[in-house]
Subunit: 550 residues, 2 copies
């Protein structure tokens, strides 16, 4: 509890408050006496000093404040594992009416601080939740404390102790709307620089609000993608970004939960490899103790080898490296692959059945468990909820081509679809089947990797598939060639040097179950579930051809 | 169900069966007629042919066998997604007495096949579970089928259809001991080469059995580490290895499950970085689109940046790269890091409390859920179950040094412990406290990374810790320096160029909560929980200074 101050303190505080008022009047008002002018000048100087102090984050406290121990910068040693005080911090998210009149201690960021006379308002934010803290000069709260609060630099970490109270009117600007905290003590645990490279309020503003303001003649700062990414640690503090990465965490969790319940084994395959994992040029090369090595473009070869090693059903969540030059809204040089591979008895539909159920469980899970997060994203980046069927729609590639043709879009029936055709097909499928999520299978063999099983009835096609959300690919998969002779032939047909693949191909000579699998891009799933316009928004610290930091 | 043959088929089958018997008698019996001799020669030739056929994995089937459709090599197209038959495969692990007299279809590996006259025994293995399949010549089973079974090459994938029956005596050599399968049909789905680089029976033999056999004058092949790792896909099929990697999967699962329940967010940080993540020379370098880049030695910097970005508590499971030259039983150039980082209010004991509970939940989980797996490992690599306390033991570094001193081992009180001292201390702790799992904290500052928080009372020490299983380190962690000025100073003291760490250090200038965390080596946890003698045994496809394949 805050110690109560003397009567003298209270008077001093009131006087001080009055002086400020006077000073303000003096600056504005005409026809004042000399004494008053002197007084005003003195006050103005004090005000300047105060502002200067605020600008340097108000480290100073009034020397003679008998309640000075109730506020100030916490010495490092106090959070250097000096001891265990037994105090309990309440989470901002847990502050509610049930705690009314209770003394609480919170730790969070000074999102904003403003003071006027005897009162200061501090919004404290903890992981996306905010609460208003009010410091009012009283017998237990000194003028010095109010001044200190006012001068706190934005984003500083503060410990606030105070009493939970109910505001007269619900607070619209904080997440905790029915309670506020009457401050008794406040300490700064870690001071933020007074000038930040970006303002969080700007970074959190929606395009809609920006446009609305512009129409009204207000010009807000529009924080560009590069400024955000250059200062990612600040950018990530916006409510939308806090939500996006909590959703990303949920996607992985739901992915694994479903697969573990279906007898999959989680594996970890090496990212350092002797040969290029899938051929092609988009590979990062490096020296490995004198040997030429590269970074795995996918866990493809090793996850198949895990099947050859009798694990039956395996999955992996890990980084995937692509030295691509694509500078698009949906390509990264490093992303998180959700990979799975499984024995099949007869047909690649066994993989598709599982994938369909897996993703319905992920979408259901997100909708059920991430309501607040989805709402936070929607505030900044409004989007339509994902529409999906309980039983996932399967279309063949020729059916897709035909739908495009019927809509006047001509595509090569044995070529790949480009981004534009995929988008268009996504729209057509949505109109016809009312789903944003569907599978396109039986792709032309020529556009798939060498390890893809040709179709049994027509080897111009293959037992392969892509899966789409909102017209963009999130999954690629297939039945694999498990016959070593056919595999060698297919590698040769695709111009791949089988010598670099010896260990992989040999694995199939020791008996192999027919199998298939798929690779999912985690960032794409998050991006498209939330209809974000750029994959950099769903990558924590993105890597693209031009970005290797932070 | 097997289709029933005609009367003619039956006669042919019986005749065929009888001939084999006669041949066998002829070969063994003395004083035979010319006709019998001719017949015997003919039979011997047939036998030779049969053996030759067996050596080439018995592709041929008897041309004139009216029951020939019940066995043989399955054409590729039958498993090339031709159609969905609706047949149901039963797992070998699910075969039990409840299925007696039921017709079942299984798919697995021909672990061993041997025939004698009218009968053949085939052990089918599916993911570590085995069942005996018996093919006996009868009205529905031709001699050709029995011959075909006998000739199956080891490790080939087979579909076996038959009736579950109860053997007269429990079968000691298979995991399914109370049932066997009376074979009706058998097809080879994928043929293994007749000569394999290692024999699974050899690879699965325990040191104890090898020594016992040697004493009895039997010399088995001892499969060396390199042979195993060069042919890892085969090596991984042993029961012990199947178990090790299922346990590894469980460790990750239990790790995440606990942390998610404690409000941690799972993150994925980049492995491609502009500077060396922790300084030092043990870093893999590569060219990144013309920029000099390196592979992350840990997610240290980015997980701390995630804390600066308000995620509160984060964890990551991902690859960690160390270009070390250490060629020891416990170092790898690539391993799986289980990393966590969390806000702390006052003391690094908050991290230690969580780690203690986390690992007790992992150990409890493994003991409860992996009984079969632990048993399988114990068969090949016998070990004592891990002893651990409900409340994890904490010892300070000086206490550890004193215990060693009392035992006659002198160590530098401000240096690091070497492997030998750590082992010895582990033994002393086990004797005194009866635990294989404990924490040593308050390490000398000089032996910890620059971002480690110095101890508040004596800056020769630090707020850091290592955690040990059976005297070997599995976890390293600490409270971090969250003050940017101190961080710059510490980096300078450690001879690190802060220019390469700008983004990291800047993150602390925007307000940072005090925090701490730890990094766990997944392969080490598995290795030491099971008391394996080499980390290569708990890495799926290990990477060390001399190994980049398979």
């Amino acid at each position: 509890m805050a110690s109560s101050g003397s009567m003298e303190d209270l008077t001093a505080a009131l006087e001080s408050s009055c002086s400020t008022q006077t000073a303000a009047s003096a600056e504005n008002g005409p026809g004042i006496s000399k004494k008053a002018a002197q007084k005003a000048a003195k006050k103005a100087e004090r005000l300047q000093n105060r502002q200067a102090a605020a600008a340097t984050a108000a480290t100073a406290k009034e020397e003679d404040d008998p309640l000075g121990h109730n506020y100030g910068d916490l010495p490092l040693e106090d959070v250097q594992s000096k001891g265990i005080s037994g105090r309990i911090w309440t989470k901002v998210s847990e502050l509610d009416a049930a705690l009314k009149e209770r003394n609480v201690l919170i730790r969070g960021r000074a999102q904003s601080a403003r003071g006027k006379g005897k009162i200061a308002f501090l919004i404290v934010r903890e992981q996306g939740y905010t609460v208003q803290c009010v410091a009012t000069v009283s017998e237990s709260v000194s003028k010095g404390l109010v001044k200190y609060v006012t001068g706190l630099s934005k984003e500083s970490i503060v410990d606030v102790e105070g009493v939970v109270s109910k505001p007269d009117v619900e607070i619209a600007s904080t997440t905790q709307q029915v309670v506020e905290i009457q401050v008794r003590k406040v300490y700064c645990v870690s001071k933020a620089a007074s000038v930040l490279p970006l303002n969080l309020e700007d970074a959190a503003r929606s395009e809609r609000d920006l446009e609305k303001a512009e129409k009204e003649g207000v010009q807000y700062v529009r924080v560009g993608q590069d400024t955000r990414l250059n200062n990612r640690v600040l950018d990530l503090r916006t409510p939308a970004n806090q939500a996006i990465f909590r959703i990303q965490s949920y996607v992985s969790m739901l992915f694994r939960q479903y697969l573990l319940s279906e007898d999959f084994v989680e594996i970890h395959t090496p990212k350092l490899m002797a040969g290029a994992s899938e051929g092609g040029s988009a590979v990062f090369k490096l020296d490995y103790k004198g040997q030429s090595a590269c970074l795995a473009q996918s866990p493809q070869l090793h996850k198949q080898m895990a099947i050859c090693a009798d694990f039956g059903r395996v999955f992996e969540i890990g980084p995937v490296f692509r030295a691509e030059d694509s500078f698009t809204h949906r390509h990264l040089c490093e992303f998180t692959g959700l990979d799975l591979e499984m024995e099949i008895k007869e047909h690649y539909f066994e993989v598709l059945d599982l994938l369909g159920e897996l993703f319905v469980s992920i979408f259901d899970g997100l909708n059920a468990k991430c309501k607040k997060e989805l709402q936070a994203i929607n505030q900044q980046y409004p989007f339509e909820p994902l529409q999906y069927l309980r039983k996932t729609l399967l279309l063949t590639f020729p059916e897709g081509v035909q739908m495009l043709k019927d809509a006047g879009v001509e595509v090569d029936p044995f070529g790949d679809l480009n981004t534009e055709s995929e988008r268009r097909l996504g729209q057509l499928v949505k109109e016809k089947y009312n789903t944003d999520f569907y599978v396109l299978h039986r792709y032309p063999l020529a556009v798939r990797p060498f390890y893809t099983m040709p179709a049994v009835d027509d080897n111009r096609y293959s037992n392969s598939f892509d899966v789409f959300i909102r017209g963009e690919e999130i999954i690629s998969g297939a039945q694999r060639v498990h016959d070593p002779d056919l595999l060698v032939k297919r590698a040769g047909d695709c111009g791949i040097d089988v010598k670099t693949l010896t260990a992989y191909i040999d694995s199939f000579r020791w008996g192999t179950v027919p199998h298939g699998g798929a690779g999912v891009g985690l960032e794409r799933v998050v991006m498209l579930f939330c209809a974000l316009n750029n994959i950099r928004k769903s990558s924590l610290f993105p890597r693209d051809p031009q970005r290797l930091a932070p």
